[in-house]
């Protein structure tokens, strides 16, 4: 008899081990009842296939555009390699898949799809914003009641779960062209230049907004949670803050503020 801890360690190892050297599978097999219809490996494979199938499906649901771009077989292959490298560390399956964009950027078999990693980055940002905390937007009137000292320590915030993404490729167009109902024969020029995007959610409407250089620079400062006063002082020469602040507030890109203490 082995302890629960030892059995479960063996079981987990059997599910995720290299099947060319099934050490844990063979060891676990010693503790299983003989089954005349299924070998030890077949019994464990039922669970192995379920685990991998469930995780692949989870990744496919988070990354539908990547899945569409590469097709089922390649996606399954890529996802399997990812699962072997990255464990799920949360009981919430929506937390799984965070590192896929980085994984793809080092995945040799996807070398020819230069934009795939950035599309994955966009899809993860979409996914996180979709599940992020709800917010009611910036109440601009509250700013009128700040003391001088509070104004000096004012820090603006982007919408919860929002993400700033830059890419050398028009990933917003690739994403859009691969949404259901948007399929057409329009050619996307991969060399049309880099893009800077903000992915965020306004109530229940998802947005992928294309940013100008100055908007990108300003929102990055906000995202780094720098005091507004400091941004005004240090970036006075390069950014037209008087123009950018109302513009970003109007768009809904600035969703809240707090006073740094």
């Amino acid at each position: 008899m082995i302890s629960i801890q030892s059995m479960q360690t063996l079981f987990m190892n059997a599910i995720f081990e290299n099947l060319e050297k099934p050490v844990a599978t063979n060891e676990l097999g010693k503790h299983l009842t003989y089954n005349e219809r299924l070998s030890v490996d077949e019994q464990i494979s039922i669970y192995r296939d379920s685990v991998f199938g469930g995780l692949i499906m989870a990744l496919q649901e988070i990354y539908p555009v990547c899945h569409k771009l590469v097709g089922q077989d390649f996606f399954d292959f890529m996802a399997t390699q990812y699962i072997n490298k990255h464990q799920s560390l949360s009981p919430d399956l929506t937390d799984y898949g965070e590192h896929l964009a980085n994984f793809i950027s080092h995945f040799k078999q996807a070398d020819s799809l230069l934009y795939l990693s950035d599309v994955a980055c966009l899809e993860w940002a979409w996914h996180r914003a979709f599940h992020a905390r709800d917010h009611s937007g910036l109440n601009i009137n509250k700013l009128n009641f700040l003391s001088e000292e509070q104004q000096e320590n004012l820090v603006f915030k982007l919408p919860p779960g929002s993400a700033l993404i830059s890419s050398d490729y028009p990933i917003h167009k690739i994403w859009n062209a691969n949404q259901q109902g948007n399929e057409n024969d329009d050619v996307i020029d991969l060399d049309e230049g880099s893009v800077k995007l903000l992915v965020w959610r306004k109530k229940f409407d998802m947005h992928i907004d294309l940013l100008q250089e100055d908007e990108w620079a300003f929102l990055n400062k906000i995202n780094q949670q720098e005091k507004f006063n400091y941004i005004c002082e240090t970036d006075e020469q390069s950014l037209d803050i008087a123009l950018l602040l109302p513009q970003c507030v109007k768009q809904g890109w600035i969703a809240d503020f707090y006073i740094f203490e």
């Binding site: 008899m1 082995i2 302890s3 629960i4 801890q5 059995m7 479960q8 360690t9 079981f11 987990m12 599910i15 503790h31 299983l32 009842t33 003989y34 089954n35 219809r37 299924l38 077949e42 019994q43 464990i44 039922i46 669970y47 379920s50 685990v51 469930g54 995780l55 989870a58 464990q87 799920s88 560390l89 949360s90 009981p91 919430d92 399956l93 929506t94 799984y96 979709f130 599940h131 992020a132 905390r133 709800d134 919860p160 779960g161 959610r201 229940f204």
Partner: protein, 280 residues
């Protein structure tokens, strides 16, 4: 938000594909079961839709994340979030599985089997008690479907369940499909299993469709309920009485009307049992 209501009759598992149909047509379904683990996010549409459904129907919560059979302690972050969801949505039932899904905080997100030993009994009882103490309510525990047996198990599954109930006072969710699948895979009599379950603790029944893989039955939750499972369900009702019953469907999810047909069928069995009781 509606006050907590008593669940009865044949309910249906709530799936995202059916939100629109349910909210627009408000079908005559007595209750819905919610997969708790799909609502662990901080906000957004899933929680909004859940709130809308909850305003119309009684609900139950069903999860896998407690990982009751794991050697790991209960994940307190998950338990805290579960309690917050319970307080917000006031489900009638809260259930999880007699299985493990994680070890050393590595999640397989799949219900994995364990041996029915005294060690497992102590471990799981302690975890169920921890969960019940924290939530301030009885947890409902579901029997698993399994594809392998451990040669050092010290008791049959039904005895393990009896012992768990004795040690924790928890309630039970009997999945008739799981009983049938495991019985066929491990050559035991499903009626003997049912007859040995402490029936006064059975608060909910699940029905689903399995897949015959040739070498074993697989609990796919992707088919209509098989006639053998309907037959077993009918017999199980004589032990468990007219217990609230749920139609589960998780893969290749069909049109909502298919689930309604299955729920109507389950309701007929429940009605038939009650009529027989009335004239007995």
């Amino acid at each position: 938000m509606k006050a907590t209501q008593q669940i009865s009759g044949a309910g249906i598992g709530l799936r995202t594909q059916h939100y629109q149909t349910i909210l627009e047509s408000r079908p005559d379904v007595p209750w819905f079961e919610v997969l708790t683990d799909n609502y662990m996010g901080a906000g957004g549409l899933p929680l909004y839709h859940l709130e809308q459904v909850r305003d119309i129907y009684p609900i139950s919560f069903h999860g896998v994340g407690l990982s009751l059979g794991s050697a790991d302690p209960v994940n307190l972050k998950y338990l805290t979030k579960l309690k917050q969801l319970i307080e917000r949505y006031q489900p009638e039932h809260v259930s999880d599985h007699l299985a493990w899904v994680s070890l050393n905080n590595h999640y397989a997100h799949e219900l994995l089997p364990f041996p029915y030993t005294q060690e497992a009994l102590s471990l799981i009882s302690e975890k169920i008690n921890t969960v019940q103490d924290y939530l301030g309510r009885a947890l409902i525990v579901e029997n698993p479907s399994t594809y392998l047996d451990f040669n050092y198990s010290e008791m049959p599954e039904w005895q393990f369940i009896q012992e768990i109930v004795n040690k924790t006072g928890c309630d039970l969710l009997m999945d008739i499909n799981n009983i049938y699948v495991s019985a066929m895979n491990h050559n035991f009599n499903p009626l003997e299993y049912i007859a040995n379950i402490p029936c006064q603790h059975v608060k909910e029944i699940h029905l689903a469709g399995y897949e015959d893989k040739g070498t074993h039955l697989y609990d796919t939750h992707g088919y209509r309920i098989h006639k053998e499972v309907w037959s077993l369900y009918e017999k199980a009702l004589t032990y468990f009485k007219a217990t609230p019953t749920l139609i589960e469907w998780d893969t290749d999810i069909p049109d909502f009307s298919v689930l309604l047909e299955e729920a109507d069928k389950a309701q007929l069995y429940l009605n038939k049992y009650e009529q027989q009781e009335q004239y007995a």
